[in-house]
C-alpha cells in the first residue's frame, strides 16, 4: 500500500514535469513573433528573406533603424503624435474620471444616480456606432487629420469613472467625515483625502488608458489620412510599402520602436498591467 502510493506520487511528479515542459515550449512559441521581429530589425535588408528564418539577431546592426528615421515617411513625427495622443488622453482621463468618481462615490446631489446610470450605459456602445457623427462633426470643425481630434474624443471614459467610483466606495469614509466636521471644503477633501486613497487605482487606469490609446486603430484610421497626423498603428500600413521593395528589416526596425513603450511597461510593471487589463475586461 505504502509503495503503491509512493509510486503514484512519483508518477504524478513526472506528469507535472511533462506539463511544465510542454508549457515552456508553448511559451517560447508564443514569443517567436517577437523574437523574430527584433532579430529581423538587426539583419541587413539583403538577408531579410534568407531561410531558415533566424529568431536571434546575428549582429547588432543599427542601420535599419537609421533607414527608418531617414526615410520619406515622417516616422519621428508619427511617433511624437502617438506619444502626444496617448499621454494627453491618459492625463485627461485621470482628471475627468477622478473628479466624477469622487462626486458619484462621496457626494449627494439630485440626479446623481441617474447621471451615473447614463454614464454606465456608455460601456455598451461599440466604437463603430459613434464614429460617423464624430467624423462629420470633425469635418465641420476642421479636426480631421489632427491628432487633437483623437485627444478630445478620448478625454473621458465610462469605464474610468466606473472603475474609480467602485474603488473609492471600497475605501473608508471616516477621514472625510472628520475633515468635513473641521470645516474643510469639498475640493480640499477631494485633494487631501480621496485622491491619495485612489492612487493604486489611478496607476492601473493610467496603464490601461495609455496602452489603449497607443494601440488604437479603428478611430484613427477613420479620422486621419495624412502622414503628418498619423499615429503608429495606422502608419504601419504605410511602412509596409517597404515590404514590397524587400526592405522587410526596415519595417521590423520601425515595428520594434513602435511596440517598445508597451513592452517596457509590461516588463517593469507586469503584475499591474495584467491586473489592470483583466480588470478592464471585468466591467459589466
Amino acid at each position: 500500500m505504502q509503495t503503491r502510493s509512493m509510486q503514484t506520487r512519483e508518477a504524478k511528479k513526472w506528469v507535472d514535469r511533462a506539463i511544465i515542459a510542454v508549457l515552456l515550449l508553448m511559451g517560447i512559441l508564443m514569443l517567436m513573433p517577437f523574437f523574430w521581429l527584433f532579430s529581423m530589425s538587426f539583419r541587413p535588408a539583403a538577408e531579410a528573406y534568407k531561410m531558415p528564418p533566424s529568431f536571434f539577431p546575428p549582429s547588432f546592426d543599427l542601420s535599419n533603424y537609421q533607414t527608418v528615421l531617414e526615410s520619406s515617411v515622417p516616422f519621428l513625427k508619427i511617433y511624437w503624435n502617438s506619444l502626444y495622443v496617448a499621454v494627453l488622453v491618459t492625463i485627461g482621463q485621470l482628471v475627468t474620471c477622478t473628479l466624477a468618481a469622487f462626486a458619484y462615490a462621496r457626494l449627494r446631489f439630485p440626479g446623481r444616480d441617474s447621471l451615473f446610470f447614463v454614464m454606465l450605459i456608455g460601456l455598451m456602445f461599440p466604437a463603430q456606432v459613434t464614429i460617423l457623427p464624430i467624423y462629420l462633426g470633425y469635418a465641420k470643425l476642421g479636426l480631421l487629420n489632427n491628432p487633437i481630434g483623437l485627444v478630445l474624443m478620448g478625454l473621458t471614459s465610462s469605464f474610468g469613472v466606473f472603475m474609480l467610483r467602485q474603488f473609492l466606495r471600497s475605501q473608508p469614509k471616516e477621514l472625510e467625515e472628520a475633515a468635513l466636521m473641521d470645516g474643510a471644503g469639498y475640493f480640499k477633501i477631494f485633494w487631501r483625502i480621496s485622491l491619495p486613497q485612489l492612487m493604486p487605482a489611478l496607476g492601473a487606469l493610467a496603464i490601461i488608458t495609455f496602452t489603449g490609446a497607443w494601440n488604437a486603430y479603428f478611430q484613427p484610421r477613420a479620422l486621419i489620412t495624412s502622414q503628418d497626423s498619423m499615429t503608429l498603428p495606422i502608419a504601419m500600413d504605410l511602412l509596409r510599402g517597404y515590404m514590397s521593395q524587400g526592405n522587410l528589416s526596415v519595417v521590423m526596425a520601425a515595428m520594434s520602436m513602435a511596440i517598445l513603450p508597451v513592452v517596457l511597461l509590461f516588463l517593469v510593471a507586469q503584475k499591474m498591467v495584467i491586473e489592470g487589463v483583466t480588470f478592464s475586461g471585468i466591467r459589466a
Binding site: 506539463i19 455598451m124 507586469q270 495584467i274
Partner: protein
Amino acid sequence: MATRRLSDLRKAQMQAGYVFVLPSILLYAAFVLAPVAITIILSFTYYDISFGADWVGFENYVRFLTEPRSLEIFWNTLRFAFLAVSFNVAVGLILALALNRAMPTFMLYFFRLAFFLPVIISAAFVAVVWSYFYSVDFGVINYYLAQLGIGQVPWLSSSKFAMTSIVIMDVWKNTGFFMIILIAALQGVPKPIMDAASMDGASAWRRFSRITLPFISPVLFFCIVFASIGALQVFESIMILTGGGPGDSTRSLSIYLVDEAFGSFELGYAAAVSVIMMILVLIITIIQIIGSRRWVRE
C-alpha cells in the same frame, strides 16, 4: 442657526457634485450620447455630405437584409466570432488548468510574459508580422511545413484558408487574456473539496467535470460574453492580414462599415450597419445580464 448651516452644507455639496461631474458628462454627451443618437437618425436617411439628409425610412435596413453581399459579410462576422470565441476560451481554459500549480516565481513571470504579451500589443502591429509568417513563398510557416514535406499553403490568398488563418492569429493574440481570468477563477476552487474527492478516488476528469467546471462556470460564461463582444467588432487584424479578401471571404461588419462610409460615402447605409452591430452587442449584453442572474441564483 444649526439648520441654516446644514442646508448651506447641502447646497455646497450639491454645487461641488455638479462641478465635479461636469467635465466628464459634457465630454460623454458630445462624444458618445449625441453620436449614438445621430447614428440612429442617420440610419434612416440617405445622407449626402453636400446636400444633406433625405428621410428614407427602413430602406437601409431592408437593403442590408436583402443584399447577398451584406448577408455574406454578416455571416462571416458571426462565423469568425464563433470560431474565435470557442478557441480563445477553450485554449485559455486548457492553459489555465495546466498553469494552475505551484511553480517557482521566475517561471510564473515567464509564463505570464509569454502568454500575456500578445494581449497588450496592438493587433495592428503584430498582424504585420503574421502577414509575413503567412506569406506563401517567403513565409516562415510554409518554410517549416516544407521541411515536414507538406506543400505550400495559401494561408491568406485562398478563400478556403483565409478565415482560419485570421482565427489562428486571433487565438495567439487573445487567449492569454482568458487564461489569466480563468487562473484567478481556478484559484477560487475550494481545495478541501478537491482533496476530499481525490481521497475518495475520483478521477481527474470527474473532479474537473463535477467540481471545477460548475465552480468556474460563471467566469467561463463571462469569458464567452466578453470574447463575443470583442470578436463581433474585429477590425484591425483582418484589415492588415487580408483587407477583407479574397473576395469578401473575410470581410467583417466593421470593415464593411468603414468601406461603405469612407470608400463609397454611403453614410446613411453605413449608419444602419453600425446600428445592427450595436444591436448584436446589446443582445449579447442582455443575455449576459439574464445569464448572470441565473448563475447567482443557483
